[in-house]
């Protein structure tokens, strides 16, 4: 892919992801509402919410520092930088050489740390509770993430997501037990990272059970809009990431003509739709678990990830 085309593809990818993120949340809410027998808000409601928040003034606590004001923008910047590294409809964009899975994890960690610090900046109990729990969950999520990357690196020989997707697209990996185990671990990881039910409830109004919402309790106006948008973008990011690793079919090859991009966009939309249905079905069929069950939940994922690596060692005598 030429440099110009690669750059255009990157811009198109970013524009699509940024534009579609609120829509994903709207569709997910609508789908859940219909499953529960409610009519639900229109699918475009998240856009209206964001527009409304942008029109409102921000109310900032008296003792807020610069950290509080900067954190939403830093969190969104980290997430957008991660989004730029994850391939959606085509491979070989301008950033494909840098799309390292560890780096993507680092970008998401920037976002997490920024919001955790913001939660502690005002000095209220709720901010602290959210920050403390968020960092605790991360301590259990990170090993799962790394062992997943470990297994993928064993299979493909690199931690670069673009290369992993390329190898998967050519179907040279085939169906493997390890990949199935890894997929299960990644789904658990994605649920925890996005704070979905059963780990956290983005629609909760009960303070003591909140994690993410407790951290951002003090925000209003444009700052809250940035945070809401970050959460939506992160959900889309994880779905795209899972699709790129486990279901890279339909993505345009690096040297394919831009006409194949259309096919890639359709395939990507389809994969995200499947993911949305999955999340919706999971969320209506399960209750939120106690906070101290989450490390156990992640422990299961950790076990699956370790098993995946050990399966590879045994089956390949990996060398």
């Amino acid at each position: 892919m030429s440099i110009v085309l690669g750059f255009i593809a990157l811009c198109l990818h970013l524009a699509l992801m940024l534009a579609a993120a609120p829509l994903l949340v709207g569709v997910l809410r609508k789908f859940k509402a219909r499953l529960l027998g409610r009519t639900g808000a229109p699918v475009l409601q998240p856009y209206r919410d964001l527009a409304r928040l942008l029109r409102k003034q921000a109310v900032v606590a008296e003792n807020a520092s610069a950290v509080f004001v900067l954190a939403p923008a830093v969190a969104l910047a980290g997430t957008i930088a991660a989004v730029a590294l994850v391939p959606s409809f085509t491979l070989g964009t301008s950033t494909s050489a840098a799309s390292d899975l560890l780096l993507i994890g680092g970008m998401l960690a920037i976002s997490r740390v920024a919001l955790a610090l913001a939660g502690m900046d005002i000095g209220t109990a709720f901010g602290g509770i959210g920050a403390s729990r968020e960092m605790t969950f991360a301590a259990f999520a990170e090993p799962v993430m790394l062992l997943v990357i470990f297994t993928l690196a064993l299979l493909v020989g690199t931690t670069n997501l673009d290369v992993i997707a390329t190898v998967g697209r050519e179907a040279s990996l085939g169906l493997r037990v390890s990949l199935g185990l890894v997929l299960a671990a990644v789904v658990v990881l994605a649920i925890v990272e996005n704070g979905r039910i059963p780990v956290d409830n983005p629609a909760t109004h009960l303070e003591l059970t909140m994690v993410h919402e407790a951290m951002v309790l003090e925000y209003a106006g444009w700052q809250l809009a940035l945070i809401e948008f970050t959460a939506a973008l992160k959900l889309l990011l994880w779905m795209t990431l899972i699709a790129a690793v486990f279901c890279p079919f339909g993505m345009a090859a690096p040297d394919a003509s831009p006409l194949y991009w259309l096919l890639g966009i359709v395939a990507w939309a389809g994969k995200v739709a499947v993911g949305t249905v999955g999340v919706g079905l999971l969320e209506i069929s399960i209750a939120k678990m106690r906070v101290f069950r989450v490390p156990e939940f992640l422990g299961v994922a950790l076990l699956l990830a370790v098993l995946a690596a050990v399966f590879l060692f045994v089956s390949q005598g990996f060398a």
């Binding site: 942008l54 003034q57 921000a58 900032v60 008296e62 520092s65 610069a66 950290v67 923008a73 830093v74 969104l76 910047a77 980290g78 957008i80 930088a81 950033t95 050489a97 840098a98 390292d100 560890l102 780096l103 680092g106 970008m107 960690a109 920037i110 740390v113 955790a116 610090l117 900046d121 000095g123 109990a125 602290g128 509770i129 403390s132 729990r133 960092m135 605790t136 991360a138 301590a139 259990f140 990170e142 090993p143 790394l146 062992l147 690196a153 064993l154 690199t158 931690t159 003090e218 106006g221 444009w222 809009a225 940035l226 906070v291 101290f292 490390p295 990830a305 370790v306 060692f313 990996f318």
Partner: protein
């Protein structure tokens, strides 16, 4: 340095200035030596042991460590300029730096021991600068004991290696084999490992590093641990020769993984900022040890590319940690001076009173949390890459070990991030928890200069990790026989040739672009901001009666780590919580008491103390024997001794 020490005896106030100047010159010299790629030089001095003299040797490996030591020393000494608290022990500061430098340029066993012990003794004196405080004396005592144990083991290491002579060249000519090599490995891990904070001899770090003055603990935690690691590496990689078996590195990987988890977990539990930072040093030393372990195993399995990757990762993390840890310790010192305490439970809201120090500390904490594109992230990224490549070594046991190590490293990294958020969130953000914190004062000009200097070097290392590894090329060749070469480019760092890797500059550009775009688009929103009391889910503002009662409802350091303590601390640190609730009607406060126990205390130190007491009990009874019994014991020992000699002669 010795001249500086002598001068400093006469004029204590000059000590930091002279140390900073000399260390600065040393840093420039080490850097220019590395940039020019000059060959190794040796220098024989006619002083020292009779008939043997002293050999000094400078090669690429020494120079990399020297650079780190001198950079951190410049900053640490500069931060002490104008500080009148520690004039009594000031002459020991240049001597401490000189001791570290001597250990690094030693070319024979004697000068190595001389430098290492000079470093130990002077740092012990510096720890005791404020010896009127009881906890300081306790920390110093523990440190003194560990230093003595370390010295004993290192002397035996030198003895085992010096089959044909004390110089390094003679040691290389006769590398240890068989049981001798195993003994060297074990003793060097005890001798230098105890100084570096390698598990299980790490327990002295938090009390001792917390007790020392800030600029001294910056050096002890940031670079003295690195000098100890240099001794480990010099002995195991260089002096033991390249013919050691592959399993030689396995103990390093196991101990390193244990340290990474234990140190990071304990960093979340400590209530003292400096103790928490010292625990995070244990974690980072563990990570570095893993890198060297992978290198050693890969070298034994004849995989030079992987070996150089592991060693390069360890060296890069040594540089990164050797810069950001002094920054954090100097910041902790500034907090102690400005807010009067290092206890998290008394701090809070310092970002309003100490904005520059807070900004620098946040930068250090971001390094500690290993967020891209900092130096901390670059080091850990390369370490993960070397571990991800390690299954190629082969053997099911090694592969499973590597897999578990990878998981523990990741957990350590995430726990370190939690510890960083805890330090910044509790100490710098929020509301002040006491009057002293509310009236904190910004650090003095030299402290700020020192911190911003070391922070900017750390920033550059984060952006150009490949250049650092280029400079470390000769060191890598000494260690593993291979270099990073093209893998360490100016812009991109890759684990293998023709592979995509990590581009720090591009990462920074992406983040800045995204942030800039958001900040630009922000102006289309309503930017008028109203300031008001915190919402806090509708809880009202506190009454005027309780100016500092209400801020105590914030999360404290102990509260922040409570989920981790329940989830992990119970099994690893034997955490126990005792809640004492007053009877109904009783108005006294409810209390929660938390006890933690480091596993090393339970498994290593407690049995040691038990047997020491036993032995002293036996010695005690022997004091009160009658003369006849004493004589018969002596005769018995003599006979036993002769029998042993006779048996040995027969063999």
């Amino acid at each position: 340095m010795n001249v500086a020490a002598l001068l400093a005896v006469l004029r204590p106030m000059l000590a930091p200035v002279l140390t900073a100047l000399l260390a600065g010159c040393g840093a420039v010299a080490a850097l220019s030596y590395l940039v020019m790629g000059a060959p190794a030089v040796t220098l024989d001095l006619p002083i020292g042991l009779p008939g043997a003299g002293i050999t000094l040797a400078l090669d690429g490996l020494s120079a990399v460590f020297l650079l780190v030591v001198f950079l951190a020393s410049t900053a640490a000494a500069a931060s002490a300029i104008g500080d009148h608290h520690y004039t009594e022990t000031a002459p020991f500061l240049p001597a401490f730096v000189g001791g570290m430098a001597l250990a690094l340029v030693a070319g024979d066993g004697f000068s190595l021991l001389l430098g290492f012990e000079a470093m130990s003794v002077t740092s012990l004196v510096l720890v005791l600068s404020t010896h009127r405080d009881g906890t300081v004396r306790q920390g110093g005592l523990l440190y003194g004991g560990m230093a003595a144990l370390g010295a004993l083991s290192l002397i035996m290491v030198v003895g085992l290696l010096a089959q044909r002579g004390l110089s390094f060249a003679a040691m290389r000519a006769a590398p240890p084999e068989g049981w001798r090599a195993i003994l060297v490995l074990a003793l060097v891990l005890v001798g230098a490992g105890s100084k570096a904070g390698i598990v299980p001899l790490h327990t002295w770090l938090p009390p001792a590093h917390a007790a020392a003055p800030a600029h001294v603990s910056a050096l002890m935690s940031g670079v003295m641990t690195k000098v100890a690691l240099y001794v480990v590496v010099r002995v195991l990689f260089d002096l033991c020769g390249p013919a050691q078996p592959a399993w030689f590195g396995v103990p390093l990987i196991v101990l390193g993984a244990a340290g990474a988890l234990l140190g990071a977990l304990r960093a979340n539990m400590e209530g003292d900022i400096k103790a928490a930072l010292a625990c995070s040093t244990i974690e980072n030393v563990g990570l570095i040890t893993i890198g060297f372990g992978v290198a050693l195993v890969a070298r034994g399995a004849d995989l030079p590319a992987l070996a150089s990757l592991g060693a390069a990762a360890a060296l890069l993390h040594i540089v990164a940690h050797g810069l950001f840890k002094p920054l954090l310790f100097l910041g902790a010192g500034a907090i102690q001076d400005g807010a009067g305490t290092r206890r998290l439970d008394r701090l809070g809201g310092l970002i309003h009173r100490m904005p520059v120090t807070s900004a620098l500390l946040i930068f250090g904490a971001v390094n500690l949390a290993a967020l891209p594109p900092t130096a901390g992230f670059a080091g850990e990224w390369l370490l993960f890459q070397s571990v991800l490549g390690a299954p190629r070594i082969g053997g099911f046991a090694v592969q499973v070990l590597v897999c578990v190590t990878a998981g523990l490293m990741a957990m350590g990294a995430a726990l370190a991030a939690a510890a960083a958020v805890r330090l910044v969130g509790v100490a710098l953000l929020g509301r002040p928890r006491g009057p002293r914190a509310a009236a904190a004062e910004e650090a003095g000009p030299w402290k700020l200069r020192a911190m911003s200097g070391v922070a900017s070097v750390a920033f550059l290392v984060g952006l150009f990790p490949g250049s650092v590894l280029r400079l470390a090329g000769p060191a890598l060749r000494t260690l593993t026989g291979a270099e990073m070469g093209e893998r360490a480019g100016l812009a991109v760092l890759t684990p293998a040739l023709d592979m995509p890797g990590y581009a720090a500059l591009l990462t920074l550009a992406l983040l800045l672009l995204a942030f800039g775009a958001i900040w630009f688009l922000r102006q289309f929103a309503d930017l008028r901001t109203t300031r008001g009391p915190a919402w806090d889910c509708g809880f009202g503002a506190s009454t005027a009666r309780l100016p500092f009662g209400d801020p105590l409802t914030q999360y404290s350091g102990g509260g922040f780590s409570q989920p981790l303590r329940r989830a992990l601390g119970h099994s690893i640190l034997a955490a126990r919580e005792v809640v004492s609730m007053p009877e109904p009607g009783d108005t006294s406060a409810a209390r929660i008491e938390v006890t933690l126990r480091d596993p090393a205390n339970a498994w290593v130190f407690a049995p040691f103390a038990y047997w020491r007491d036993k032995a002293s009990g036996i010695a005690d009874t022997m004091q009160f024997l009658t003369i006849r019994q004493i004589l018969s014991v002596m005769v018995g020992v003599l006979v036993l001794f002769l029998i042993v000699i006779a048996v040995i002669e027969q063999l």
